[in-house]
């Protein structure tokens, strides 16, 4: 039995050697070009099938690539959208901060008393003798709250607060403010020399619908065109807010009073932001 097995092993090894030699000889013959024709026949026969299979592979590869790219683009898109939302939010915040900074700079640049308290408001509409504001920061002004502009126009205001008007009523988010030219407006004032600041006269600025008039100035008191008209502090208004300057002076010889046109310092409708004086 052992001999039989030995013979079997030997014959297996023999067959192995035969086919090994055959493989080697085939390879040698191929290197001499013995099977050129055979290659051509097999290639031509199998080409259609191989091409079809290759196209299937290309299709699968392309689909995979498209899907991968689609997933990647979607992911990138989502990331970008998140980033845009975040940047938009930051931009809005930045814009808001810039505006607040601008407003605060205006206040800081004036000679308004630092103990006063101010609340910002945005101008919505200016019509005739009224302006409409929207209070920023949720502040709800009381009726009669004065409204000022903080301006650094030194030539005209000498770095002072300029009186815009006073609150007449609140309408939801909007605040209606009457200008000095409004017929309901009556403001106690002083007249000061524009250059020296010396007090020259006192009177009342009354609204005449479309214009304001300085009235009840004693005829003995001096008035000159260009003099500054400032609030006197009477009637719940803080003092030294500029209303305008003296324009044309009217005097009737028989009257104990003289009057003058009030020329506005600034045009409120060209403004963006004003301030309520919430405490003075």
């Amino acid at each position: 039995m052992a001999r039989g097995k030995g013979l079997q092993i030997q014959s297996t090894f023999g067959v192995f050697l035969i086919f090994l030699t055959l493989s080697f000889l085939t390879y040698l013959a191929e290197s001499k070009g013995a099977f050129k024709g055979l290659h051509g026949i097999v290639q031509n026969t199998t080409r259609p099938a191989r091409e079809a299979l290759y196209q299937v592979r290309q299709g699968l590869t392309l689909s995979t690539e498209i899907f991968t790219e689609y997933t990647r683009v979607n992911q990138k898109n989502a990331e970008l959208e998140t980033r845009v939302a975040s940047l938009s939010s930051s931009l809005a915040e930045l814009s808001s901060l810039r505006e607040e900074n601008k407003r605060m700079k205006l206040l800081l640049g004036t000679n308004l008393p630092p103990s006063w308290k101010f609340e910002a408001a945005k101008l919505v509409l200016s019509t005739g003798d009224e302006i409409t504001l929207i209070s920023l920061g949720g502040f709800v002004p009381e009726i009669g709250t004065p409204v000022v502009i903080a301006e650094r126009d030194e030539g005209q205001t000498g770095d002072r607060g300029v009186y815009v008007g006073k609150v007449e009523k609140n309408i939801g988010e909007e605040v209606l403010v009457i200008k000095p030219s409004n017929s309901l407006s009556k403001i106690g004032v002083f007249v000061r020399n524009k250059d020296t600041g010396e007090r020259r006269a006192s009177g009342i600025v009354v609204g005449k619908g479309g214009e304001a008039l300085l009235d009840q100035v004693l005829s003995g008191e001096k008035l000159a065109e260009g003099d500054l008209i400032v609030t006197s502090g009477e009637g719940k208004l803080p003092p030294e807010l500029i209303l305008g300057y003296v324009g044309k002076i009217f005097q009737n010889e028989s009257s104990p009073w003289k009057q003058a046109e009030v020329k506005a310092v600034l045009q409120p409708d060209k403004l963006d932001y004003v301030f309520f004086i919430s405490k003075y």
Binding site: S23, T26, A29, E30, A49, R50
Partner: protein, 142 residues
């Protein structure tokens, strides 16, 4: 594995490999299945033929693959008595060796990923077939 099935699978994979499947993929598995189911002596003619078929279909020098297949099939057959690891692993190693050798000597490259894939498939197949192979008369892997 019957020789008819072996030849059909050979022709199918020779056509698929290169166009749809990786260039070197299933030949190692086919050869190992044939050798260890029918024995080396009865498998050698078909192993030689497999090499010729793959070389023709893949436009390689005829005889190169046959040389690699015959040598490694013989080596794994004779080594089966000396190496006694877990049988599935040994056969998988033989499949891997045939594929890598063909990759290197015929195509002058090494494809790692397809080799790993076919090794895993082989391991799965051998572990499933091992009880069946062991019960066949005369050609048990020792």
């Amino acid at each position: 594995m019957s020789t008819r099935l072996f030849l059909v699978l050979t022709l199918a994979f020779a056509l698929l490999q290169g166009s749809l499947l990786p260039t070197v993929f299933a030949e190692g598995l086919l050869i190992v299945l044939l050798v260890f189911s029918r024995g080396l002596k009865r498998s050698l003619p078909f192993i030689f033929l497999v090499g010729i078929v793959f070389d023709l279909f893949q436009s390689r020098a005829i005889g190169g693959s046959s040389l690699v297949f015959v040598m490694l099939a013989g080596a794994s057959w004779y080594l089966r008595s000396y190496i006694t690891p877990e049988k599935g692993l040994f056969l998988t190693g033989a499949v891997l060796a045939i594929n890598l050798a063909r990759n290197y000597f015929v195509f002058n490259s090494i494809s790692v990923l397809p080799s790993i894939i076919i090794a895993l498939i082989s391991l799965g197949i051998f572990n499933i077939l091992q009880p069946i192979v062991s019960s066949r008369r005369g050609y048990e892997v020792q």
